[in-house]
């Protein structure tokens, strides 16, 4: 890069190309629709004429003499046999036709009106005023002129012009030909154009009707040669071929006096081709298609939309030094690492500049060639390319490696393959927050997938049902430094969204550590040793001797991974999560997690301790010991969890939801009672006896009453079912520890599914006055309005199943609507915040220095460092200080 600004945009002017201008900038008048002759040489005055540029190596441009990469391309032109309207100016043409006189071409305003309006327009300058204001004024004036049916200048009676979309204008049913339109436009005096917002010097309205069509340079529409040797032309060239062919036929028919009908047909066809050449998605005409049936991609389609030039090639581009593949889990990797398959690592390179200090080692490196392995056949980084100081790239092969290694001198650049320890950026789309792209260090692994620690699923929102992720190799020292210091996973553990950890244990990690610490089980020595072999511990904890055998307590094992000096107490999820008073409430050994000097004295480890989003231990380790220690804790915590649960074993199944026959009949009983109660309520309502709740109609009151009745039985049935499902039940363990699902889900499976709803109310739509034809019209009883008595385990009857599907659909629709909306909002926000910068004084500014906030977030607080939005956690700090003082 040369740096500095060589030119600045002073202004942008919008204008129309006049036919003369098109001819002037044209290098060749294209007259034949053919492209190449039999030898494959471009035909003169054809669409591939050499005057319009070259795309084939060896040939030279007939205009500038440049070779393939030197010639910028040049325009040609087509003389159309008859004029056609330009699809982009239909609206403008309509306004011009409506507001001007069909005979004299003047705007249909009296001289006085013209004078007073001209004064207003003179005050605004066409080139500097807000286009929107000019547009509004112009609309007002032209609307007024269009209303007038008699010309104030020549007295001609006017006729109404109707636009028959997309391109036909009709006057009292008779078509106004483009030729006629052009003549009318020519009659409009220069000084009346200002009322239409046109600058007469650069935009005459008759230029909106095309007589000459510019032919874009060949560089814009290159032909491609297929493997078969067959040549395939660009869509634009195809379209231009059509235009030339029809234009020729039209000219011939006109010149030898063919019937008017044939000429008109051809003229319409020419209009169609020119219209679709500009925009092949014009409403009202079928898109022009390729022989294969594929719609052609013409000018508008090249620019518009997500796949268009702007969004796909300018705002976002494809990048080199990146890889994409399926992801899979690897619990033995650190959260800071990413497993990269060898195949990818061999392709991805890091440039190393050779200097006097590294020249010898780089020579050794290059000598190894492009596919080196160590004595055990393990991957070693090789070199793919070496770049000479003059910029020439040399591809390294096993054959030329030795020789090239001798040529290397300081100043050369060597593109080295990825190696263990390189820092790379890892990303999963949609990139909704900054943790969607984090820095990882590379581990080269066997296999074909990217792998990472399960704790990192949360920030990426990844799972392994086929998700793919992208990897970017950093090419510069500054970027590598930034990635290490601010983007590395361990630096992103705290979320700026809520000031707590977003990286932590998930699913089995939580289940496992819950089982390890709840009621402090004793683990036999051999199992303990096996589990701890996954960790890098220094010494075994204090054993517990029972019946002459050595055991280790679960909490003592967990304490091994806690950093020394950690003091912490908090309530476990087991108790905070319970709806009613928790059965462990009175036993502090279960309720309170109590950690002193890195030793867990009592409590239960669950979601509240180590979960992502909530993990209290992770949070406090981060605050006291920083990112590196936290990463180490999470690494060891996930290893311990996986180790323990593999030894202990854990599984779930439908038998988790077995409850005694008596409970099932009890649930059936209360649900029958609920239906009765609803029926009674409805009866009361029908008799007009129902008392409305304050501020509500009787109907609303009835609905609320029924909803609360059905809601109550669902809760009740849940309670009945739960009474038989204790903490020895795997599903309950998962729900109570926060690993997966809620108690509600369990009661849905074992007890009763309950009332289905749409928008917070009972189901009520479908047929007239009923949800299904199985019910009587106006039946508003519990069953007719979506009350599901069955449990998932029992199975739903067809009617219940249908009701359930109605309720389920709401969720799906919600998600669909929400994602598309939040996606668009995200795009707008990112575009608005792009280039904003927080300076040393914490002031938020844009690129010109205009202030957005005087202090970041009004208080200068980094939400990442806040304690869930609060300044400081007083209780924790007090406890910590107290304990430290005691030690």
């Amino acid at each position: 890069m040369t740096g500095g600004i060589s030119k600045r945009i002073y202004k942008i002017q919008f204008a129309l190309l006049s036919p003369e201008e098109i001819r002037k900038m044209s290098q060749v008048k294209v007259i034949t629709a053919d492209t190449y002759d039999d030898d494959g040489y471009p035909i003169e005055r054809g669409l591939m004429d050499l005057h319009m540029g070259v795309i084939e190596p060896g040939l030279k441009c007939a205009t500038c003499g440049g070779k393939v990469d030197e010639c910028p391309g040049h325009f040609g032109h087509i003389e159309l046999a008859m004029p056609v309207v330009h699809i982009g100016f239909i609206k403008e043409l309509k306004t011009l036709l409506d507001a001007t006189c069909k005979a004299c071409g003047k705007i249909k305003l009296t001289d006085d009106e013209i004078r007073s309006y001209r004064e207003k327009f003179d005050q605004l300058s066409l080139s500097t005023s807000d286009p929107e204001i000019i547009g509004l004024m112009s609309k007002k004036v032209t609307d007024e002129a269009s209303q007038r049916m008699v010309c104030p200048h020549c007295g001609t009676q006017q006729t109404k012009i109707i636009l028959d979309k997309p391109t036909t204008f009709r006057e009292e049913g008779i078509k106004v030909t483009p030729k006629e339109i052009r003549e009318r436009m020519e009659r409009i005096p220069d000084d009346h154009l200002v009322f239409f917002g046109l600058n007469s010097e650069v935009a005459r309205p008759e230029w909106m009707v095309l007589t000459v069509l510019p032919v874009p340079p060949i560089n814009v529409r290159p032909s491609i040669t297929l493997e078969t040797g067959e040549r395939s032309e660009d869509d634009l060239t195809h379209k231009l071929v059509d235009i030339i062919r029809i234009s020729q036929r039209l000219r011939e028919s006109r010149d030898n006096g063919s019937p008017q009908l044939i000429i008109e047909d051809l003229w319409d066809l020419l209009q169609f081709h020119v219209t679709t050449y500009f925009d092949n998605q014009t409403a009202g005409i079928p898109p022009a298609r390729h022989r294969s049936g594929r719609a052609l991609k013409t000018l508008v389609q090249r620019l518009k939309g997500k796949e268009g030039r702007f969004r796909s090639n300018l705002s976002g581009k494809r990048v080199n030094f990146s890889a994409r593949t399926v992801i899979s889990p690897e619990p033995f990797l650190s959260i800071n690492e990413v497993g990269v398959p060898e195949k990818a690592a061999r392709e991805l390179t890091v440039p190393v500049t050779v200097n006097v200090f590294n020249v010898e080692s780089i020579r050794e490196f290059v000598k190894r060639g492009p596919e080196p392995r160590d004595e055990f056949g393990k991957y070693l980084a090789g070199v793919n390319y070496i770049i000479r100081p003059d910029g020439r790239r040399i591809k390294l092969t096993a054959q030329n490696a030795e020789e090239n290694s001798k040529r290397i001198e300081p100043g050369w650049v060597v593109e080295r393959q990825l190696t263990e320890g390189d820092i790379v950026l890892f990303n999963r789309q949609p990139s909704l927050h900054r943790m969607s792209m984090m820095g990882h260090t590379v581990r080269i692994l066997d296999g074909q997938t990217f792998r990472f620690n399960l704790a990192v699923c949360t920030p990426y929102n990844a799972d392994f049902d086929g998700d793919e992720m992208n990897l970017h190799i950093i090419q510069k020292e500054e970027a590598r430094a930034e990635a290490r210091i601010i983007m590395k996973v361990q630096e992103q553990i705290m979320s700026p969204r809520f000031g707590g950890p977003i990286i932590g244990g998930i699913h089995d990690h939580i289940t496992s550590l819950f089982l390890l610490t709840h009621n402090n089980p004793l683990i036999p020595e051999d199992e303990t040793v096996h589990i701890l072999s996954y960790l890098d511990i220094e010494s075994m904890p204090e054993p517990v001797i029972q019946d002459g055998k050595k055991f280790y307590a679960g909490r003592d094992i967990f304490s091994l991974i806690l950093p020394k000096g950690l003091n912490l107490q908090f309530t476990s999820k087991l108790c905070t999560g319970a709806k009613e008073k928790c059965e462990y409430e009175n036993d502090p050994a279960d309720k309170l997690v109590y950690i002193v000097d890195g030793k867990m004295l009592h409590g239960t480890i669950d979601e509240a301790a180590i979960g992502s989003f909530s993990g209290e231990i992770i949070d406090k380790i981060f605050r006291k010991y920083g990112p590196a220690e936290t990463a180490r804790f999470i690494d060891r915590m996930t290893r311990l969890a996986v180790g323990f649960i593999s030894v202990r074993g854990f599984s779930t199944g439908i038998s988790d939801y077995d409850i005694p026959e008596s409970a099932i009949s009890r649930i059936a009983e209360i649900s029958a009672q609920a239906i009765d109660r609803a029926t009674k309520l409805i009866e009361t309502y029908r008799q007009g006896q129902l008392q409305p709740a304050p501020g509500r109609s009787v109907e609303d009151t009835l609905e609320i009453e029924i909803l609360s009745t059905t809601g109550m039985v669902r809760d009740e049935s849940g309670k009945i079912a739960s009474a038989y499902l204790g903490l020895n039940n795997p599903s309950v363990i998962m729900a109570r520890s926060g690993a997966r699902a809620k108690m509600l889900n369990i009661s849905e499976v074992a007890g009763m599914v309950g009332q289905q709803s749409v928008r917070g109310g009972r189901l009520n739509r479908g047929y007239y006055g009923r949800t299904l034809p199985h019910f009587k019209v106006n039946d508003i009883g519990a069953l007719a309005r979506g009350f599901v008595q069955s449990s998932y385990k029992e199975g739903l009857n067809p009617l219940e199943y249908f009701m359930h599907s109605i309720g389920g659909r709401e969720g799906l629709v919600d998600i669909a609507v929400r994602t598309s909306r939040s996606g668009y909002m995200q795009r707008r926000l990112i575009n608005a915040f792009e280039d904003l910068k927080v300076d040393d004084d914490l002031r938020v500014q844009d690129t010109i220095g205009a202030v957005i906030q005087f202090k970041y977030g009004e208080d200068g607080v980094d939400p990442t460092r806040s304690d869930r939005g609060e300044t400081v956690d007083v209780d924790y700090n007090a406890f910590d200080l107290e304990q430290e003082a005691e030690q």
């Binding site: 500014q845 010109i848 205009a850 202030v851 906030q853 005087f854 202090k855 009004e858 208080d859 300044t871």
Partner: protein, 87 residues
């Protein structure tokens, strides 16, 4: 019922006109040129309410806004009146 004054609404922060004589002091304190201050449209309801009290306000007048803040107690913000209409 009298005319509704937006400034009295609970969710609208305090808006004060910075007197011309204090402007230099404020700008110096903020170390900023006036045209780099955040803008407020003269058609903003808060400006209209202020004009009821102070009479017509020129474009270029600096408005001091005092907002309640859960972390700071309150925070001050400055905006300068422009004739632009924001859409």
């Amino acid at each position: 019922m009298g005319k509704f004054n937006v400034l009295q609404h609970d969710l609208v922060p305090e808006h004060h006109v910075v007197p011309k004589s204090e402007e230099d002091k404020v700008l110096k304190e903020l170390e900023i040129a006036k045209d780099l201050l955040p803008k407020i449209s003269r058609s903003d309801p808060a400006i209209k309410a202020l004009e009821e009290i102070h009479g017509p306000l020129d474009t270029g007048t600096i408005i001091r806004i005092v907002r309640r803040s859960p972390t700071m107690g309150y925070s001050t913000y400055y905006r300068v009146i422009t004739s632009e209409v924001f859409k």
